[in-house]
């Protein structure tokens, strides 16, 4: 009895050893890649990427580990504990924070040693967005500015033919588009649906000559130019012609647009993709933002970076250069989530002649 008790334990150890050695024998450790999922099509495309990359690079394998929700919460913890994937999706907005935490690998050396990469092909503005203190910490995959989505049917019902061109028209149109559509004395269609996030108030602040944080890093929320812009939005809200998504029980502003609760909403190109997939029956058109004292919009640039504590910087770079290279750009173009970051790809895809996409460039 006693001896037979030991044998299973020994066999487990043996199996474990065999299993582990079997892992060792397989080809190199997979390159880990992470990102959030803006839409199902993005996930499908990323998987296409991984497949084509593995085909082009025999012997290399990629493990795609998307983070479905609370991306930043999880990513920051992974970065802090050194468990982050080798290539991570990042937004240009985050560069100051990530550089402050000192978790990203500068990419200049890699680019310098890689003559086939053509960094000059990127839109210079986008590349600058990933730069901090002279070093480059990420490479753009795609980008989109914010534009005005409007429902042409609702515009027609309100007797409006063209999208608003300035703030006065914007407020006036919103007032005319706010209606009770089913006659129960409760308003069920509002002029404008405003997203809570800071980035969506920023175009108004910028158009009024204000800012949230100035060039020297001071907070300038309370300057008259910013206050005036935010007050414009506040008046629309208190006047009952603009709503927040939560006011109409929507998850976000384009959800409110899709549910026909608002006639106008501001978003990026990714919202077109969302509307096509989720609210296919809701008509929409896109225009540049109404102009305040000066025209301005916010650009969202999404790209990839390499964590400083990655075990395989060289391998990570090979995946990163493919994701953001000319060939990768051509795959991203199909996603309709953002515009290509490379000028050559944009030219090839004839973005300038696309009535929808050119609004976001």
């Amino acid at each position: 009895m006693y001896r037979s008790g030991i044998t299973p334990f020994g066999s487990i150890v043996l199996w474990l050893a065999l299993f582990l050695s079997g892992c060792e024998q397989q080809d190199a450790v997979p390159i880990r890649l992470t990102g959030w999922i803006a839409s199902p099509i993005e996930e499908t495309l990323t998987r296409t990427f991984v497949d084509t990359f593995e085909q082009r690079h025999p012997g290399l394998s990629v493990r795609y580990e998307p983070i479905a929700a609370n991306y930043m919460d999880k990513l920051l913890l992974m970065l802090a504990t050194g468990t982050a994937p080798d290539v991570i999706m990042i937004e240009a907005f985050w560069i100051p924070l990530l550089v402050e935490y000192d978790v990203l690998l500068p990419l200049d050396d890699f680019i310098g040693r890689d003559p086939g990469f053509f960094p000059d092909d990127f839109e210079p503005v986008l590349l600058d967005a990933f730069r901090s203190g002279g070093a480059l910490y990420g490479l753009p995959k795609d980008h989109s500015t914010l534009a005005l989505y409007f429902n042409p049917d609702m515009f027609e019902e309100a007797g409006l033919a063209v999208p608003p061109r300035n703030w006065d028209e914007f407020a006036e149109f919103a007032r005319r588009l706010t209606r009770d559509t089913d006659g129960d004395t409760r308003i069920d269609q509002y002029g404008y649906g405003h997203a809570e996030d800071l980035e969506y108030s920023l175009p108004f602040v910028w158009q009024n000559g204000g800012d949230f944080i100035d060039g020297r890093g001071r907070i300038v929320f309370a300057e008259p130019a910013s206050v005036e812009a935010l007050n414009f939005l506040r008046r629309m809200k208190t006047g009952g012609i603009a709503v927040m998504p939560s006011d109409v029980g929507a998850a976000w502003n384009m959800d409110a647009f899709g549910r026909r609760r608002v006639a106008m909403a501001i978003s990026g190109l990714w919202a077109a993709n969302f509307l096509n997939e989720t609210y296919a029956s809701v008509p929409y058109r896109v225009a540049v933002l109404p102009v305040g004292k000066l025209p301005a919009s916010v650009a969202f640039a999404v790209g990839y970076g390499i964590p400083k504590r990655t075990r395989n910087p060289e391998l990570a770079w090979r995946l990163l250069r493919y994701l953001t290279g000319p060939e990768g750009g051509r795959i991203w173009v199909k996603s309709d989530i953002g515009l290509p970051a490379r000028r050559s790809v944009a030219q090839e895809a004839a973005i300038e002649r696309d009535p929808l996409k050119r609004v976001f460039s």
Binding site: L76, L77, L79, A80, T81, D102, S246, D247, G249
Partner: protein, 305 residues
């Protein structure tokens, strides 16, 4: 059998039984060892670690910790958000604990009577307790939303309801109500068990003595439920002090920090702003405040237990 024999031969306190007791203690510790190891790894040492980290500036991204003396505590004392969190937590505990205890007691009394479909009601009241708090939070987000169920009902009565979670005035109260609703069922079961433990002979004796229903409740049920009441209130206080999931799911501490409780403040400081020293200091300071208020109460009311 064995222990009986031992106790007959060598009673407690006699020198002869010392080796036996020592051997028993050794065996006990041996069996406790796995639990002790796990506890010290995941409970005791982090607890001690908190007191150490509170005096450092540590953000997890850099390997080095900076000794900052009591700077974290000084900053906390002047941090309006910390004071708001303390106030919100106090309101939360003082509001939720009595309400859920009372509701649980009423529910327990109601289903302890022989009413029709008693089993159904017992199950129905207990369902919130076994439902994931994430799920109940999302359901209540819908109920509380501007065009939600609650406002629909209010509209029927001619009242234009607010956006409950979106308003700094109502958000905390709304989340407190969810908490009362979701935990009362759980504590109801505790009270039911407590009611069962009161011997029927006491009620009988009271009835013979001419006690009415209210007198029976006051002089038999309430004293009989005292241990249960202590259990429910203690668990309730612990549970409400560490409220997190509903706040995280429903309001993320907003609007304007109206629902930032202490645990959410600590979470934010540590995992959003990566100020682990500051978060630890908040925990330590809170523990000190709790301790001081307890001591104070003893001094002011020495008869209190």
């Amino acid at each position: 059998m064995l222990s009986k024999a031992i106790s007959r031969n060598t009673g407690p306190g006699r020198p002869a039984d010392m080796p036996e007791r020592r051997r028993e203690a050794r065996a006990a510790y041996f069996f406790l060892l796995p639990a002790l190891i796990v506890l010290s790894l995941f409970a005791f040492s982090p607890l001690v670690f908190i007191f150490v980290v509170a005096f450092f500036d540590w953000n997890l991204f850099r390997a080095d910790l900076h000794w900052v003396e009591a700077a974290n505590f000084v900053e906390l004392a002047g941090d309006e958000r910390f004071l708001t969190a303390l106030r919100n937590t106090t309101v939360y505990v003082l509001g939720v604990v009595p309400a859920q205890t009372l509701l649980a007691l009423l529910l327990a009394l109601a289903v302890s009577w022989n009413i029709p479909a008693r089993g159904f009601f017992r199950a129905a009241f207990y369902i919130p307790a076994i439902t994931s708090s994430v799920v109940t939070s999302i359901i209540f987000l819908w109920i509380y939303s501007k065009p939600g169920l609650l406002n629909y009902v209010l509209f029927r009565f001619g009242i234009e309801g607010p956006d409950w979670i979106g308003s700094p005035k109502y958000a905390l109260g709304a989340i407190m109500a969810v908490n009362v609703w979701s935990t009362s069922g759980y504590f109801m079961v505790a009270f039911l068990a407590g009611l069962r433990n009161i011997p029927a002979s006491l009620y009988e004796a009271a009835r013979i003595d001419g006690a009415g229903p209210w007198a029976r409740f006051q002089y038999v049920t309430v004293p009989g439920l005292k241990p249960t009441l202590f259990f429910v209130v203690t668990l309730g206080i612990i549970g409400t002090f560490q409220v997190f999931d509903q706040i995280y799911m429903m309001s993320a501490g907003g609007p304007v920090n109206a629902t930032t409780t202490l645990s959410y403040f600590v979470y934010n400081s540590a995992f959003r702003y990566f100020r682990f020293g500051y978060a630890a200091a908040a925990v330590v300071l809170f523990a000190i405040i709790l301790f001081v208020t307890r001591v104070q109460r003893r001094i002011i009311r020495p008869e209190a237990p």
